[in-house]
């Protein structure tokens, strides 16, 4: 493995949970998660050559991950080729322990939001600043702030129903 490949592998390892979390929030089942995960890795690798460390690796990974998921959401019908299986011994869609149920509740809440709002909430849950979120999704920090207030109201309405 050359140094470029090694660096890429390290970035993927460090951000694997972030990538998975994004895939999980944009998927309906474990197969779709694996499919999206693979697409994201392909896009990360394709973009790795032009990644100049102007932003942090985490920000870059989030940007590529969210763009991939939003693009997949837009296309609706996805081509399913040979999807490589992820290495996990849990199933966050099927497990019924207390923690898993909480996580499923989170996914259900986020799934009701529009893809763009899903992206903003996910980044906010990562404790990113409005500026960082704006830089990733391509809007101003002020717009992020306004959007989050609307999302909050939307989530409140959902929980009141």
């Amino acid at each position: 493995m050359n140094s470029l490949e090694h660096e890429f592998t390290e970035i993927v390892r460090e951000n694997k949970t972030n990538i998975y979390a994004v895939c999980y929030m944009f998927s309906k089942d474990a197969d779709e998660v694996a499919d999206l995960f693979q697409d994201i890795l392909i896009n990360l690798w394709k973009g790795f050559g032009s990644f100049r460390h102007a932003s942090s690796a985490k920000t870059w990974v989030y940007r590529v991950s969210l763009n991939t998921c939003i693009d997949a959401e837009r296309k609706k019908q996805r081509w399913r080729g040979n999807v490589l299986p992820l290495t996990m011994d849990i199933d966050l869609f099927e497990d019924t322990d207390t923690d898993s149920r909480q996580i499923q509740l989170l996914r259900q809440r986020i799934a009701q939001l529009a893809p763009f709002d899903r992206a903003i909430v996910l980044l906010w849950l990562e404790n990113m600043s409005y500026e960082e979120i704006g830089a990733i999704v391509g809007i101003t920090a002020k717009h992020v702030s306004v959007r989050l207030v609307r999302i909050k109201e939307q989530l409140k309405r959902m929980s009141n129903k």
Binding site: E5, F8, T9, V12, R13, K16, T17, Y20, A21, Y24, Q38, L41, I42, N43, W45, K46, G47, G49, S50, R63, N67, T68, I70, D71, L84, L86, T87, M88, D89, I90, L92, D99, Q102, I103, L105, L106, R109, I110, A114, P115, F116, D117, I120, W124, L125, S129, Y130, A135, I136, V137, G138, I139, H143, S145, R147, V149, K152, L155, K156, S159
Partner: protein, 199 residues
């Protein structure tokens, strides 16, 4: 800028995302094999058409010059044909160069929109260049045919062949052009929708 929004829902979600992260942190998720296979996976549909166009232009240039040369056409015409083909190849390359460099999934939405918008405009304007260029070349081709070919050969084979070629080539070229414009518009619409939602 403040990053804290007080909301029961948001606080619950923060706890839930922590649970998710804790669970995921205990998992391998992605094996070395998975990453390696991904890195070797050279799939690129974006700009594939551009690459094909460039290859056709460059690859067919010697062939066209050879065939027209054997028919006895003038050197100036052969040079002009070669230049036209290479111009088309270079034109396609420069149209797509920014898109290649951008890395479609790698940029924020505004940058993608800017690049796609430029690409769409260039393809939409391409007819203003292509039609005069093609018609001039075609008229010259017919004149060269009159000068260098037998009348019977010219009327029975060359003329119908040239017109059929022009029509088929024109239709294929225009279809490809419209397809790129449609794809660019699709991306722009999606970006637009996303940005409006974010506004």
């Amino acid at each position: 800028m403040e990053t804290y929004i007080d909301s029961r829902e948001f606080q619950e979600m923060k706890q839930q995302i922590s649970l998710l992260k804790e669970k995921l942190n205990r998992q391998t998720i992605v094996s070395d094999n998975f990453i390696r296979k991904t890195m070797k996976h050279h799939v690129s549909t974006i700009n594939r058409h551009a690459v094909i166009t460039i290859l056709i232009c460059v690859g067919f240039t010697p062939f066209c010059i050879g065939v027209l040369g054997k028919m006895g056409f003038s050197v100036w015409f052969l040079v002009a044909t070669g230049c036209m083909m290479l111009f088309c190849a270079l034109h396609t390359y420069f149209y797509h160069r920014k898109l290649w460099n951008v890395g479609f999934m790698n940029e924020d939405l505004l940058t993608i929109a800017r690049v796609m918008s430029t690409l769409r405009k260039r393809y939409a304007d391409w007819l203003q260049v292509a039609i005069p260029m093609l018609l001039t070349w075609f008229a010259w081709l017919l004149i060269e045919g009159i000068i260098h070919l037998d009348t019977e050969l010219y009327l029975m084979s060359f003329l119908p062949g040239a017109f059929v070629g022009l029509v088929i080539g024109g239709i294929i070229g225009n279809k490809r052009r419209k397809r790129v414009i449609r794809q660019a518009e699709g991306v722009l619409t999606a970006v637009d929708e996303l940005l409006q939602k974010g506004a």
